[in-house]
């Protein structure tokens, strides 16, 4: 199903968003005049070089940071603080070492004071689904990096968000785990019909996972371009690992590589 920008109301919308940080030695413009619309069920990747403000963009959508100018809207309503519609996966799992795996997965539900009986059932179902059934009573340090990041995903999805923000969630993993987990996560989010926004500096990860790739310029971050990703040769949307083997992948990769103006200083 292709999202049709004219008909549906955007799930997430940014209107002329500016974000500046203030310090005693001056102000820093992190984002300039960002306008975007992301539609229900879309999987959008945002790429840009480090320091271009892409993580800040997610903080704005999640409501933990307010824009200096402009507006962020979820389902047409302005964001004033963290919303239950949004789940946020950070760069690392940040599991609490003093909690068991199950209790870690329940953190969000606990904070949002939802029905804990139901939340517990959901968390257990999610952990079982991710192959962590026998580790519920374990401590985080007893799990590998990939398993820990799966717990973090369960923690995010346990609160049943419509929108999932992914801030380089695989960057702390080794490359094999990373590709395998990308397949799993993309599959889970698509099957549940979640709207997903992935921030990454990995061009391959962006193309293989997303329906659309948005490129941000260097600081101050501005939307430089917006690329729909289609894999016509594969018929249906292939899973990320398979997508990497399509002819389209290389075409997109080269185009985005040029866009990013990667210069290695030396």
């Amino acid at each position: 199903m292709q999202p049709s920008p004219t008909a549906a109301q955007p799930k997430v919308e940014l209107r002329n968003v500016d974000l500046r940080y203030f310090g005693r030695d001056g102000e820093t413009e992190a984002l300039r005049d960002i306008s975007l619309s992301i539609f229900p069920g879309e999987f959008v990747a945002i790429i840009g070089q480090s320091g271009c403000g892409k993580s800040t963009l997610l903080s704005l959508i999640s409501g933990i940071v307010q824009p200096t100018e402009g507006a962020v809207l979820l389902d047409g309503k302005p964001v004033t603080g963290p919303s239950r519609k949004v789940g946020y996966m950070l760069q690392q799992d940040y599991l609490f070492e003093w909690r068991t795996i199950l209790d870690n997965a329940l953190l969000g539900a606990e904070i949002q004071r939802v029905d804990m009986g139901k939340a517990r059932e959901r968390a257990m179902a999610l952990l079982n689904r991710y192959g962590l059934g026998q580790f519920m009573r374990h401590r985080p340090r007893q799990l590998s990096g990939g398993m820990r990041q799966r717990v973090a995903l369960a923690r995010t999805l346990c609160t049943e968000p419509d929108i999932v923000l992914l801030d380089e969630p695989f960057s702390a993993l080794d490359s094999q785990t990373r590709i395998a987990l990308a397949d799993e996560v993309a599959d889970i989010l698509r099957r549940d019909g979640k709207t997903a926004i992935l921030v990454t500096h990995d061009i391959g990860e962006a193309i293989s996972m997303a329906d659309r790739v948005i490129v941000l310029s260097r600081r101050p971050g501005q939307v430089k371009s917006d690329h729909p990703i289609r894999f016509a040769s594969a018929g249906e949307r292939p899973p990320p690992f398979a997508a990497r083997n399509t002819p389209e992948f290389n075409v997109y990769f080269n185009a985005l590589w040029k866009e990013l103006e990667v210069h290695v200083e030396g």
Binding site: S62, I64, G81, P82, S83, R84, V86, G87, Y88, L90, Q91, Q92, Y94, F96, E97, W98, R99, L107, G108, E110, I111, Q112, R139, R141, T159
Partner: protein
């Protein structure tokens, strides 16, 4: 890599033997130092190389202890003295922990408060609190001044240690809680406090020792009970046996407190 291989290799057996010998050597050296110390303490005064009047002997301590165990009309049993000191210390460091955690939490909650109070906290912490013993005696009276001193000596370092523990919490863990919409109170209860448990135990180790110092010093001035009082009393009537016995009990007491806290620490860390 299995540990249940049929026959451990000869290299492994050699390694085990060497490792065991190393551990025994350390224990032997530790015990040796104690023995040498006790032998010198016994022998030097006996040989009149140092004045026995000033140091007493280890062999004199046990009879003195038995003697002090008895209750007399003028003097309660040494167990009563020990109990008084121990209780005052436990009350002192418990109060310091509770108050220190509350104050540290308040400083965390209102960052502006911390910014304002920071220089005062540092200066007060650096002050020699024992200088206040006579003043506390006048202000608080005989028995309260002991608790006062115990608290004064341990409270400020407790506040500073716990606060710096709070600040050392990974900001990303706080951010994670915020993404779920956590209130400041929830961040304190679910992230900052549970994440600071190792800091709290490290602080307890420091302030338990300091509280004991505060109690003993307080007792010098104002008590008619407690090991600090006994030391003061013994030195006034030139009975080094009493002083040394009381000091030995203090050493045992502080070792036991340290062991108890280490046990608590091990129990907590096993759950992480």
């Amino acid at each position: 890599m299995s540990k249940v291989e049929p026959a451990p290799s000869s290299h492994y057996r050699t390694w085990l033997k060497r490792e065991r010998r190393g551990r025994i050597a350390v224990r032997t050296a530790q015990l040796g130092i104690l023995v040498v110390f006790l032998v010198l303490w016994e022998a030097l005064p006996k040989a009149q190389i140092i004045n026995p009047f000033l140091t007493s002997y280890p062999s004199a301590l046990w009879p003195t202890f038995l003697d002090l165990l008895k209750e007399t009309p003028q003097q309660p049993s040494i167990l009563t003295h020990t109990w008084a000191t121990l209780m005052a210390t436990v009350i002192g460091f418990t109060a310091a922990m509770v108050l220190g955690t509350i104050v540290a939490a308040a400083l965390w909650w209102w960052e502006g408060l911390y910014k304002v109070l920071d220089p005062y906290l540092v200066v007060v912490n650096a002050m020699p609190k024992t200088a206040f013993v006579p003043i506390f005696y006048l202000w608080l009276g005989a028995s309260l001044s002991i608790y006062g001193m115990s608290l004064a000596i341990s409270l400020f370092v407790t506040i500073l240690m716990i606060y710096s523990g709070f600040q050392g919490i990974d900001p990303n863990k706080v951010k994670l809680a915020q993404t779920f919409g956590a209130s400041k109170r929830q961040i304190l209860a679910k992230v900052v406090l549970p994440g600071s448990v190792p800091t709290l135990i490290a602080t307890l180790k420091v302030n338990a020792g300091l509280s004991l110092v505060g109690v003993v010093v307080g007792e010098f001035q104002s008590a008619n009970l407690g090991l600090g009082y006994l030391i003061q009393y013994g030195s006034q009537i030139f009975k080094m046996n009493i002083v040394m016995t009381a000091i030995t009990i203090l050493a045992v007491l502080s070792s036991l407190m340290y062991l108890a806290i280490s046990g608590l620490e091990a129990a907590v860390m096993r759950r992480r």
